[in-house]
Amino acid sequence: MSVSISLPMPARRGRIDLSRPIFIVLALVLGLLVILPLFWLAYYSILDQNGQFSLANFSALVTDPTLRRPFLTALGMALGVGALSCMTATPLAWLVARSDLPGRTAIRALVTASFVTPPFLGAIAWEILAAPNSGLINVAYRSLFGLEAYEYLVDIYTFTGLVFAIACYTFPYVFTLVVNALERVPSDLEDASSMLGGQLSTTLRRVTIPLVLPAILAGTMIAILQALTMFGSPAILALPAGFHVITTKIWSLFQYPPKPGLAAAAALPLLIVTVMLLWGQARILGRRGYTTLGGKNSDPRISKLGRWRWLAIAFVVAVLLLTVLLPYAALIKTALTRTVAEPLTWSSFTLHHVNFVFFEFSATKLALRNTFLLGFMTATIGTAIALVIAYLVTRRSVPGSQMLGYLATAPVAIPGIVLGVGLFLSYSNPNLMLYGTLWILLIAFLTIEMPAGYQQLSSAFKSVHPELEEASRILGGNRMTTLRLITAPLLRSNVIATWCFVFIGTIRELSATILLTTSETKLVSVIIYDLNESGDLGAISVLGIMLLVISFAVVIIANRLPVLGGQRLPIAR
């Protein structure tokens, strides 16, 4: 006990705390990203055709039924999507995180597959499957039961069809958040309940579910907002069904002669609903303390399914079949046969579409390059910005940091298509000509992905005990060093998840993209949409499958890279 440590101790490095300047820079960047396009939209919403001040656009919202109806339809659709996503994803998440169901890793991978799938691609796949006459399911149904032509089992060109097709690709939002939350709930909380005599179901209902409720609500909210602001799927499915949702209506307002003012005004109710949803979520989350990841950790509890096993398997298979397996089977089949209707046999097999996409279609290479370049850049820059913002906000380290949080969340209220207009208006004047470059797309994607990235990381931050950071501060690390050496590594899996999230979000973005690309800055999503207009389903299928394969490869690599924490540390022991 007499070891003396008597070497001279060097002084602490007198580095300046950069958090204030970083705060200012971020506030400016976010302000530019969010406020500038909104400003132009607001400006246009109060102008009439002749450039005079007028509130006619807003009064049209109330008086014109062709504007009112799409909004109500969209609201109904979004709530339907939210409910369906939540009801599917929550049990699935529990099964994957907490039960002894076989093949849980595979299920996770497949859910990720449905997440990686751009919703518009999914909608196209479901057109191939469930169009009332040519849909493969209906064709099979008729031949199976020997029914007349025009008889059908399912029709995707309906309101319910649309809700279903969207929910297929929004439920992973809920799933991912709930799985992560379930894995973080310390088992002693559940043990405590079982100890008190709680049955599995009681423990679930009274302890586990309430603990992950914020994640469920947050996920459902994301699903609702995604549905509300989604453009691709409704454009593909709602128009044939003969109704508008708010985004397709807004889009139609940009057709010649364009009415950007009216479109800007039509985005206002969306903004209000979103703000209300966010406010509600904040209230629900704010009332309880959810500091769960502290110094002590424990394994999540695994429940034995027993006789429920087969029911669970049936449920999982059904979900995966509908969201991933069938659509991709349809795409693969379509990619490899000349026309949609003919079955895949040796004689109908063709590489025509593959050949077309890779060798004849000149846009493919450029679009692929652009798409992945933008995906990487947006994911990396976006995650970094979101990380710093989430840190500044959750730790309230600079006065006014709450404002950053609002700014980062605000774009969630702006449908991509409206943002596209705002960005166009902001960045296509002669002084600042970004239109026609990839920069405007980068700005668009950063703005669009900021809310999701920020939300994910800020909820992750809330789960890290502040003392872990304070311990670093007091030992001589300033805020940014602490963020880099302690917080970010602790949140490593969340950071990677956010990166992948943003990357995939970027790749599947269509609604703002469609207004901001030019022939030099084409993206795969736009090519797919263009091809859909010309009805070239085979080429779409090839491109879609390729998009999935590459995205998947990126996600897997991101999760395996040793630098990014691929090796497993016994963190959660």
Partner: protein
């Protein structure tokens, strides 16, 4: 490619520009011209010509190479995108004082009304146009002329509908047996269909659309889509759609058939024009004349299935010649102020 794609940017710019656009250029049509040696030499010095086009990429690339073959030493830069994109791009570039294009071509006649109003076009009349183009399809001031045209036709899937049962007229489409069987493109998203809607509403009255709206049609956006839905067998009848897509499908063996309605078939005209601020004025003039030459017009007919106003162009075997079809014209100058009203009425009857 013929659809009215999200316009917004170009149209926005131009509508802003239009507010401030002052003097309009009204000039007499200039004298017709033929390419001459002097022009060719000057064009060769310029070395290239930039063509903004909305014609299908395969067709436009072929036109480009044909020009390069005919006039070696002059490269054609084909900048192909959808009609509205072309419109958007030129509006934007001109809004920012960038002049890159020599010759412009879109499928939407209304665009040229706007270009002309902006004073962007250089009057020029190739001798082919002066000689044989009907007056409805060229500008009296010589600023543009119909480079191509296509019809918006009725069609059906021949495996699902027998020839004798197939509709012969627009009125036949209102038969209750076609409820739930019809696919139709949207005038709000397709210039071709807007033109057709205008022509049909003048010929048949709006109540034709009122009744058609009750047939529970499948609504798609672009005029290229209905033929594809027909080919898939998703719907048996198309109320409107591009004739050239039907040609392509039919000629590749897909069981579809075109119907030229007894009341008449709407035609959509795609003009081409020479830009006043063309960076390569001589090559531009040479290329502009080339577009209307018999060989080029024959090429777009054969490869693209497009209709030509050149009297010497021979239609492919099996295609009904334009002269045998009753055609419904729509005057873009009359259409332009009505677009908004038509869209509104359409939405009331069709839901979108």
């Amino acid at each position: 490619m013929m659809n009215r794609r999200t316009v917004l940017s170009g149209a926005l710019v131009s509508s802003i520009a239009l507010l401030s656009a002052g003097g309009l250029a009204w000039a007499q049509a200039p004298a017709p011209y033929e390419p001459n040696q002097e022009m060719i030499e000057a064009a060769k010095k310029e070395g290239s010509v930039v063509w903004y086009t909305a014609t299908d990429v395969q067709v436009s690339e072929k036109v480009g190479s044909a020009f390069e073959a005919k006039y070696p030493g002059i490269k054609v830069q084909v900048e192909r995108s959808g009609s509205e994109r072309v419109f958007q791009r030129i509006s934007q570039e001109y809004g920012s004082n960038i002049h890159k294009a020599d010759v412009i071509e879109t499928s939407d006649a209304v665009h040229f009304i706007l270009f002309k109003r902006q004073g962007w076009l250089q009057p020029a009349v190739p001798s082919d146009v002066a000689k044989s183009w009907p007056a409805q399809v060229k500008d009296p001031d010589g600023q543009f002329a119909a480079y191509r045209a296509h019809l918006s036709v009725i069609g059906y899937n021949t495996t699902q509908v027998k020839k004798e049962d197939a509709p012969k007229s627009h009125a036949d489409l209102l038969d209750s047996k076609w409820r739930n069987r019809i696919v139709k493109a949207h005038p709000g998203y397709s210039g071709t269909i807007m033109t057709g809607t205008h022509a049909l509403s003048e010929a048949l009255g709006w109540d034709y659309f009122e009744k058609l709206g009750k047939q529970r049609i499948m609504q798609v956006q672009s005029s290229t889509e209905p033929p594809k839905k027909l080919a898939q067998g998703e719907r048996s009848i198309m109320a409107d759609g591009n004739e050239y897509n039907m040609f392509m499908l039919k000629e590749s063996g897909v069981p579809v058939e075109v119907v030229y309605a007894t009341e008449g078939t709407p035609i959509a005209i795609g003009h081409a024009g020479l830009l006043k601020n063309a960076p390569h004025p001589n090559a531009a003039k040479l290329f502009y004349a080339f577009l209307f030459s018999k060989d080029t017009q024959q090429l777009i007919s054969d490869v693209g299935g497009l209709r030509s106003f050149h009297p010497e162009v021979k239609e492919k075997e099996g295609r009904t010649p334009l002269s045998k079809i009753k055609i419904l014209y729509s005057d873009p100058a009359k259409l332009e102020p009505q677009i908004e009203d038509l869209k509104k009425k359409y939405e009331v009857n069709f839901g979108t």
